[in-house]
Amino acid sequence: MTSGDEGLARGAQASDPSHDAGAPIAEHRSRTHATVETVLRNRLAVAGLVILAVLVLAAIIGPWVIPYEINEIDIANRLTGPSTDHWFGTDELGRDVFSRVVVGARVSLVVGFVAVGIALILGVPIGLISGFYGGATDSTLMRFMDILFSLPAILLAIAILAVLGPGIVNAMIAIGIVYTPIFARITRGSVLTIRQSVFVRAAESLGATNNRILRTHILPNVMAPIIVQTSLSLAFAILAEAALSFLGLGVQPPEPAWGRMLAEGRSFFEQAPWMAIFPGLAIVLTVMAFNFVGDGLRDALDPQQRSVIESRGVG
């Protein structure tokens, strides 16, 4: 390489805004690293991450650290307010609300993650296939998604549970199905853009199979909006689980779930508001935490998404 050429390369590098001016070329700043850094600079996102860390911890070690057994009935101390013995008070059977809220995190998180996982597993491939192949395949799949999308989420989940029967597993399946169209649509939209990129055409011209192009070239490039949507959907899924449990379609008693505790607390709201307030607060905090993290991720991932992907036609 001639020295002139080297100067050229360096010049191009320096004018590239993604590089810190004066940074040596060899310095690695991977995209993941940059994303993490941007998220950590966002205070709300950090707050969200802290809340989530506490929740995950509660879900994992909760059953071993809580002061009372979750189903320990103590009629003598029923409906007592928050105190040093019972931080969040007791319910109508004298069970410790704090212990039940802590263990309830388990249900909420598991249902949230599994339901969104189902939505991802169904929605992302549908979106990939739809966007990539287009035509009749696209129309058929997307019209089906539109039908699902047009029904109110909770109503659809209730309808699915009416068919499958109530229960926590069925609730996860129902919520997963309800959120599938969102992922299908987001994925398809991004695929339509990436599909036009020169590098996809270049991969095709090098003899790559469709399957390979989808897996190695398109999927990694559409991940950013999917990741953002995942964290926002987790919040919705947890809310949906709470709603279904509130209606008695999700977690069955005596398992503690925030939605159920809210429903039970409703009847005693005037005598013992803590029965409803604390599980309610837990739901609010969790949903907010996921939203904060989701917003932080969007700020970190989306501007890049816009500048990196340019689609060009052929001359």
């Binding site: 002139g4 050429d5 270049a202 390979r212």
Partner: protein, 327 residues
């Protein structure tokens, strides 16, 4: 004379549009001899890119409809099944695209993208594919290739990326390389380096090249033979020297007249060709260039001229001889 490695006959490409069928390539025929560089020259919309994409079945059908024949070592590329054409792409015919900034996947390392075709076509295992990838980067003139192989495309400059694209193109030792405006997006210095590089690889590897461009300066430097395309049809085809000297077709003449002349005594005004290329949904019935041709006669807009022999291996699609026109 040896057998041509690619012989295209009556290639016609049309697209279904709301305004009717757009005929973008109209009965294109040409041969590529082993080891030669054929330049396909034309302005935007002349069908030069589309015709080469059609060869590798890279156009979405529909809306595109491709007719004709393209024999590559005797096998018709256009009649191949998906599996067959896929084993030709990248393996025996490779293609380089115009824009090096977007031709590489931003989320994969350069090495990963280089290794892909090697694994696909040559069945190499990960370690030997990686070694070959490093050799290839070295071959196309990327310094410290062994370190750069794990870098991402954004860590390369435009010229470097185009070198990477070339490395991907020649990875599987193809017989034919189609370079679609491969140096258009680069500055002249880098362009000259890339041209040198391809020339060197060509003599080392015995590669045939189809060079698609609108840059007549590049053509003069590298091509053996030139096909001048307009409105999806050949206007003139000849070896590079006779073409530039004789300029038989009025379109070739107008194109060359629109170029600046280096070293001219006084600054000469560039002569642009008036008008726009024809709308492919409403092709003129006669010669496609007639509406813009300074020498057009009445017969030009009524009957399309046949491509005829006008000298040794010199084909022209014009009703008139240059002696009649440019007297």
């Amino acid at each position: 004379m040896t057998e041509p490695i690619l012989s295209v006959r009556d290639l016609t490409v049309s697209f279904g549009t709301r305004l009717g069928r757009a005929r973008v390539v109209n009965g294109l025929s040409y041969d590529v001899e082993p080891g030669e560089t054929l330049a396909i020259v034309g302005e935007s919309g002349s069908g030069k890119s589309v015709s080469s994409l059609a060869l590798l079945q890279l156009l979405p059908t529909p809306p595109a409809r491709v007719e004709g024949e393209a024999r590559f070592h005797g096998d018709d590329l256009l009649a191949m099944e998906d599996d067959e054409i896929r084993s030709v792409r990248g393996n025996r015919i490779a293609m380089i695209f115009q824009d090096p900034m977007t031709s590489l996947n931003p989320v994969r390392t350069v090495g990963y993208q280089l290794i892909e075709p090697l694994k696909m076509h040559m069945g190499l295992d990960a370690a030997s594919a990686r070694n070959r990838a490093i050799d290839l980067l070295d071959l196309v003139g990327i310094p410290s290739a062994a370190e750069r192989v794990d870098d991402y495309p954004h860590q390369f400059s435009g010229g470097m990326r185009q070198r990477v694209m070339i490395a991907m193109g020649i990875a599987c030792n193809p017989d034919l390389l189609i370079a679609d405006e491969a140096t258009t997006a680069l500055d002249v210095t880098t362009q000259a380096q890339i041209l040198d590089e391809i020339g060197r690889l060509q003599s080392e590897l015995g590669l045939s090249v189809i060079w698609i461009t609108h840059d007549l300066g590049v053509v003069a430097g590298i091509a053996d033979r030139v096909v001048v395309l307009y409105g999806g049809a050949i206007m003139e085809e000849a070896a590079v020297d006779p073409l530039y000297e004789e300029r038989r077709h009025p379109y070739t003449r107008a194109l060359l007249a629109s170029l600046p002349v280096p070293g001219a005594d006084r600054p000469n005004r560039l002569r642009a060709i008036p008008g726009l290329p024809p709308d492919p949904t409403r092709m003129p019935p006669g010669c496609p260039f007639a509406p813009r041709c300074a020498h057009a006669q009445e017969s030009c807009s009524q009957q399309a001229p046949e491509l005829r022999e006008a000298g040794e291996a010199h084909l022209v699609a014009c009703h008139f001889d240059p002696e009649e026109l440019y007297a």
